[in-house]
């Protein structure tokens, strides 16, 4: 008797439709995803509910593993909430002072040119405290990859405004919303770095939904690959949720990211070798009717 591929192997009649999920299924099944990436030693962390940074760190570690660079990577870590992951990431790491990660990465790359060197920084670390470091590293065309986790607030120190906070965004010290007349305008760091001659790859992704997560992972892969090809500086900005710093419920974090931060820091590739695209062009493509 031939077997029907859609054969019913279990029929459950229950008053409660909830399926048990406390252990793997007893029926034949293929595991498609594990709790944590192979390069994360354990799952526990103390970051707030709804934070986007662990999602971005998962992607980064998965790409390093998939490129076979686990034993060949050196990460230079900035200072922010994500720094908590230095005790659980299973790659070689250097802790830099505030904003100085790109310069430390430059030294590491020049001493170990065959290693995959990356920085992990927040917007406060990269765009406020160490803006000149990342600009000069890109201008010199250092073959390192700088990863920016951009949530528009100094999350670790209490949720204050950063240089990437968008106009109208509420933070601890812009409680009525960022005001251009009083606070100035946000820095679009992706555009700033993409236009420099030493930059070969620059992109801005987001982790507010599953599609954004997949696209962001591809951006990280292209950035690391361009470094391994030795072309020059590569940069990936990842918009991450910070519901605590944004004063929104955790479930509203992704929507706030897309509607408020995403309406200014548009997602997409800003530079891929010679092809240069501005954030304004990305906004016109992705949000033709405006924010």
């Amino acid at each position: 008797m031939s077997r029907d591929p859609l054969r019913v192997i279990q029929t459950s009649v229950t008053q409660s439709p909830v399926i048990k999920t406390d252990q793997p299924p007893s029926e034949p099944a293929k595991q498609k995803g594990r709790f944590r990436p192979a390069l994360l030693l354990h799952e526990d962390h103390d970051l707030c509910p709804g934070c986007g940074e662990p999602i971005a760190i998962r992607l980064m570690l998965e790409v390093i593993e998939e490129l076979g660079q686990a034993q060949n990577s050196i990460g230079v870590i900035g200072i922010g909430c994500y720094t908590a992951f230095t005790s659980s990431m299973d790659v070689d790491l250097v802790q830099a002072l505030h904003g100085r990660a790109p310069s430390v990465a430059t030294g590491a790359k020049r001493m170990r040119p065959d290693s995959l060197i990356f920085t992990l920084q927040g917007d406060g670390d990269m765009v406020n405290e160490g803006l000149q470091e990342v600009i000069h590293t890109a201008a010199r065309g250092e073959s390192v990859t700088c990863i920016l986790l951009n949530n528009g607030v100094f999350g670790e120190t209490g949720g204050h405004m950063t240089a990437t906070t968008v106009l109208g965004q509420r933070t601890k010290n812009s409680i009525e919303g960022r005001d251009a007349d009083y606070h100035g305008y946000p820095i679009l760091i992706g555009d700033l770095l993409a236009q420099l001659g030493g930059t070969v790859y620059a992109a801005r992704g987001s982790v507010h939904d599953a599609a954004g997560v997949v696209k962001t992972k591809n951006m990280l892969r292209r950035a690391f690959e361009s470094q391994l090809e030795g072309g020059g500086f590569s940069f990936v900005e990842i918009l991450t949720m910070c519901p605590t710093g944004w004063f929104v419920p955790t479930a509203e974090g992704p929507g706030y990211l897309d509607n408020v931060l995403g309406a200014v820091h548009a997602t997409g590739e800003l530079k891929n070798h010679e092809r240069l695209v501005t954030t304004a062009q990305l906004l016109a493509e992705t949000r033709p009717s405006g924010p």
Binding site: S12, P24, Q31
Partner: protein, 82 residues
């Protein structure tokens, strides 16, 4: 009664869940809902209803590494009260 097919399933690390609810709207077939019970952290956690496709969207958006994904070799059907 209604028959619902599950092509996949998940395991949930309930005690690690911080109750952020990011997985609920991320689920394409909309088969995750928050529990009425609370875990050791004192927050509701996701429960799975029949109809999972094993796509892994919940795993992609979870900040707390609470999901594992399985795809059945042969789909499983559930009879549920509508």
């Amino acid at each position: 009664m209604r028959t619902v097919e599950s092509r996949g399933t998940i395991t949930v690390a309930v005690d690690r869940c911080k109750g952020c609810e990011l997985c609920i709207p991320a689920c394409p077939p909309q088969v995750l809902r928050m529990s009425t019970d609370r875990n050791e952290l004192g927050v509701p956690y996701p429960e799975l209803l029949p109809g999972c496709t094993g796509c892994g969207a919940c795993l992609l958006v979870c900040p707390d590494f609470c999901f594992e994904i399985y795809q059945y070799e042969t789909p499983v059907e559930y009879e549920v009260n509508v």
